[in-house]
């Protein structure tokens, strides 16, 4: 039904979407997820030409909609869009918001448009608000009206751009219910969302976007339970990563410590845990590895998983050297005190990898 072929989108010099290749089939409900700034919203906006792609093609029902001279209005009528900020027309009542486009574009009579509008409002549970102005509605009600407005044009696919992220948490439920109802009815949808539970409930496929491409895609269950790629895995575990590189004896450990403090503060890691992280890095890298390695090239990676509330420190260096063989027993004892587990692996190409799971208390 919809096919992206090497689609690109750049705003001036900054390339947001590098190379998008994907297919959306009739009846699909696709959750587009990924970190902020990955280009998820841009993908939807490219699809309905609010932000026309700067390269590649989008094929909708066999027609290349990026080709010059195609009827933009007709294409957009096929794709309803629901915005994060609702964008209801402020000078119109709820029912007029719904009636306006069908009367202008589909040639419906005002009576037909009204009847259909009331029907849709009943479906989203707002039939008693027909003559209210958007200003007098709550956020959740506004978004439900916006969905009804989109449905009034009877589009082939509905694009939802973070439909619940501007909402008060108490109102998320009412909007999600409407979206779930839509998904059950078999409507083709693409939904950009940060609500993982919503994505898991409504979608049959997931596009995980990162770095300007669709990084991984697949059936919802597989992506959520068993993603293939590291970045996807980190995303689902909601990991936050801090990396630094040690390449000389004069490493600025004070600077690194303050970075760790900031990182912990931002991610709401307890100060006790922050102390353990600093201590582990100091003992292992500065006290044990730096004196022992002839050619110090140490990569340190701190990963914090919010869902597990657990921190992992991974240290890599080229030499085949186990931490306990460094010859500094006091440091090793201190390290062990802060670590739940210390694993060392070595292979020819990657060198040594020490994985430490920090004690959580």
């Amino acid at each position: 039904m919809i096919e992206f072929r090497h689609m690109q989108k750049a705003f001036g010099p900054s390339v947001v979407l590098k190379d998008i290749n994907a297919t959306v089939n009739e009846g699909d409900c696709i959750a587009v997820i990924g970190p902020s700034g990955a280009g998820k919203s841009t993908l939807l906006r490219c699809l309905n030409l609010l932000d026309p792609p700067t390269g590649g093609q989008i094929i909708v029902d066999g027609q290349d909609i990026t080709a010059p001279g195609c009827d933009v209005s007709k294409i957009r009528q096929k794709m309803g869009m629901v915005f994060q900020s609702y964008n209801l027309f402020g000078h119109m009542t709820v029912i007029e918001n719904i009636m306006y486009a069908p009367v202008k574009l589909l040639g419906l009579s005002r009576q037909e448009a009204y009847d259909r509008g009331v029907e849709l409002l009943q479906r989203v549970g707002l039939a008693d608000r027909t003559l209210r102005y958007p200003d007098s509605l709550s956020g959740g009600q506004k978004q439900r009206v916006a969905i009804a407005r989109t449905l009034a044009m009877d589009p082939e696919i509905i694009l939802l751009d973070e439909p619940t992220s501007a909402l008060d948490p108490t109102m998320v439920g009412e909007v999600e219910a409407v979206i779930e109802d839509l998904a059950r009815s078999g409507k083709t949808m693409m939904i950009v969302t940060h609500e993982m539970s919503l994505a898991e409930r409504v979608s049959n496929r997931v596009f995980y976007m990162d770095e300007g491409i669709i990084y991984e895609e697949g059936p919802t269950a597989k992506i959520f339970k068993n993603p293939e790629k590291e970045s996807t895995r980190r995303f689902f575990r909601q990991m936050r990563v801090l990396e630094f590189h040690i390449d000389s004896q004069n490493f600025d450990f004070v600077g690194a410590n303050s970075e760790i403090d900031q990182y912990c503060f931002k991610n709401h890691i307890s100060p006790r845990m922050a102390n353990r992280i600093s201590s582990v890095i100091e003992e292992l890298c500065v006290q044990m590895l730096l004196p022992a390695l002839k050619n110090p090239r140490i990569d340190v990676c701190v990963e914090y998983s919010k869902t597990e509330d657990h921190t992992y420190v991974t240290v890599k260096y080229p030499d085949d050297l186990r931490p306990e063989d460094c010859g500094d027993e006091i440091s090793y004892k201190l390290l062990s005190a802060n670590a739940e587990s210390i694993d060392h692996t070595y292979d020819e190409s990657d060198g040594s990898t020490v994985s430490i799971s920090i004690v959580n208390d």
Binding site: S73, R76, F83, G90, Y114, L131
Partner: protein, 522 residues
């Protein structure tokens, strides 16, 4: 409910305001009328010597400053735009004397004995008719010189001087020039109608010594004549530009002016004197003085007709400028929406040009330079000028109003498949209107006030009519207050009409029945 009480509050506020203004008017009349005397007036200063170091007023564009500097030591000169302004300043003790022509002050003294003339003249002023420096001007100036010489020889000129200098208005008759056959074409004669006895408005018509001679000249030489009234400092430009064929308003002949225009031979030398307040205090009944002021301002010579004509002119200029300006501003905006860079640059340049200069300068440029050679009337030039001014403001309002509408509205409309035009007119403009409507209303009020300068391009609007009446009554306050009150009423009226119209189109003020027009609800 809240809105209603707000409107009521506004209404009572405006009633209080108008009452205040009327009270001020009444007290002002009382003050100015308190100095009406019955005995023969005695000047406060007996000789020119006593005026040493005093403030003497004179009209801009006259030659009295040289005379004053020679005849009064250490004199401080203050400049005024019109003769009535000077007289009012004198009565209000803002200045100590007014330098003017003997014949002018004589007219005034016949009606007003609160003033007197200081003994001794300060000089003699040669007066003449003025012509543009072109071939036609040369010819007309020569013909006029010839005419004046003949009149002088026959004694006719002295007779005319006597008549216009006298107090008998019924003897001051100008031949009916409307019916002139005009076999040699029609001439435009320009003057400033607030300078009796040279030029003034009587029964809504411009008459006076200058007008009399000009009309007699045209009759003799087979011309038709059209008499135009204009502010004094706009006279010379109007003649220089050839907009008018000739002019006079007690204009003195100077070497400097001779470089720019042709003069006829002087019709006469006029002695110049200094008028001061009379040295007497007298009283009149308060009520009768108000009645007198009212009579002089509105009833005498049917002067209320002048006000009605002025109101009509002001309203026509304002309303047409609002309509055309709104249309033009809107067209400019639409052009810029579609036209890209060129349209943007052109429009921004025009707006910059129009808004960068005072309205009066724009009007004079239009009148004397751009339409200098065409026959278009001052009123239409005023409409064009204020249309440009209003269009520039309205363009700005549209720009900021549309900008104030959230970008999401456009996106939502596009996403539904609505076209650019449908989006602009159906979604954006109605919401932008809410933002710019208050500014629009304010602009209407400031426009009606801004039109007060059209007197400079020979248009007799409300302000100009007030000036004309003041030039006859020598009362600042009553005509000025009357004019102010009328402006308040006109502005209020226009504002009320706009508010009505706004309410009518405001989407949120619609009734349920209107929203659901043609729809059966179950």
């Amino acid at each position: 409910m809240l809105k209603q009480s707000y409107a009521n509050g506004l209404r009572s506020l405006s009633i209080i305001l108008i009452t205040l203004i009327l009270l001020t008017a009444v007290s002002a009349v009382f003050v100015s009328a308190a100095s009406g005397a019955k005995e023969a007036p005695v000047p406060k200063y007996k000789s020119l010597e006593e005026l040493r170091g005093k403030r003497i007023g004179m009209q801009v564009g006259t030659v009295f400053d040289e005379f004053l500097k020679e005849s009064i030591p250490d004199v401080k000169i203050e400049y005024f735009n019109t003769f009535p302004d000077e007289i009012n300043a004198l009565k209000a003790h803002k200045i100590d004397g007014v330098a003017t022509l003997d014949i002018v002050i004589n007219q005034l003294l016949q009606e007003d004995d609160s003033l007197a003339v200081v003994d001794g003249t300060i000089g003699a002023v040669p007066l003449g008719f003025v012509y543009p420096k072109n071939e036609k001007g040369r010819l007309l100036a020569d013909q006029m010189s010839e005419f004046l010489t003949n009149m002088k020889e026959s004694g006719e000129l002295d007779r005319l001087t006597e008549v216009w200098n006298g107090s008998d208005e019924s003897a001051k008759i100008i031949p009916d020039y409307i019916s002139f056959p005009a076999e040699n074409g029609t001439l435009t004669f320009v003057t400033e109608g607030s300078f009796p006895p040279f030029d003034y408005v009587r029964d809504g018509e411009i008459v006076g010594y200058d007008v009399d001679i000009a009309v007699r000249f045209c009759k003799e030489y087979g011309y038709g004549i059209k008499v135009t009234d204009m502010n004094f400092d706009a006279l010379m430009p109007a003649i220089q530009s050839g907009k008018c064929d000739f002019g006079a308003s007690g204009i003195a002949i100077t070497e400097e002016r001779k470089e720019k225009v042709y003069f006829s031979e002087p019709d006469y030398y006029q002695p110049a004197v200094v008028a001061v307040l009379a040295d007497s205090e007298a009283s009149g009944s308060f009520i009768s003085s108000i009645r007198d002021s009212f009579n002089r301002t509105f009833i005498k010579e049917h002067r209320y007709r002048l006000f009605i004509k002025g109101i009509y002119t002001t309203l026509v200029i304002t309303v047409l400028s609002i309509l055309f300006g709104t249309l033009l501003g809107f067209i400019m905006y639409l052009w810029c929406r579609k036209g890209g860079r060129l349209a943007d640059t052109v429009t921004r340049f025009c707006v910059w040009l129009v808004q960068g200069m005072p309205g009066i300068v724009l009007l004079m440029l239009l009148y004397y330079v751009i339409f200098g050679k065409s026959n278009i009337s001052g009123m239409w030039v005023a409409v064009i000028g204020f249309t440009m001014i209003f269009a520039a403001s309205f363009y700005g309002m549209l720009l900021s109003g549309v900008k104030a509408v959230d970008q999401g509205q456009t996106e939502a409309s596009y996403a539904l498949g609505l076209s650019d035009t449908q989006t602009f007119f159906g979604i954006i403009l109605p919401q932008a209107a809410r933002h710019f409507m208050p500014a629009y209303k304010a602009e209407i009020v400031s426009l009606i006030k801004a039109t007060a300068v059209v007197g400079y391009i020979a248009v007799q609007d409300l302000t100009k009519m007030g000036d004309i009446v003041r030039s006859r009554t020598y009362e600042a306050f009553f005509p000025l207050i009357a004019v102010a009150v009328i402006y308040f009423i006109l502005a209020g009226l226009l504002k009320a009409i706009t508010s009505r119209a706004t309410k009518y189109v405001d989407p949120e003020k619609r009734s349920e029945a209107k929203i659901l027009k043609g729809i059966k609800t179950k």
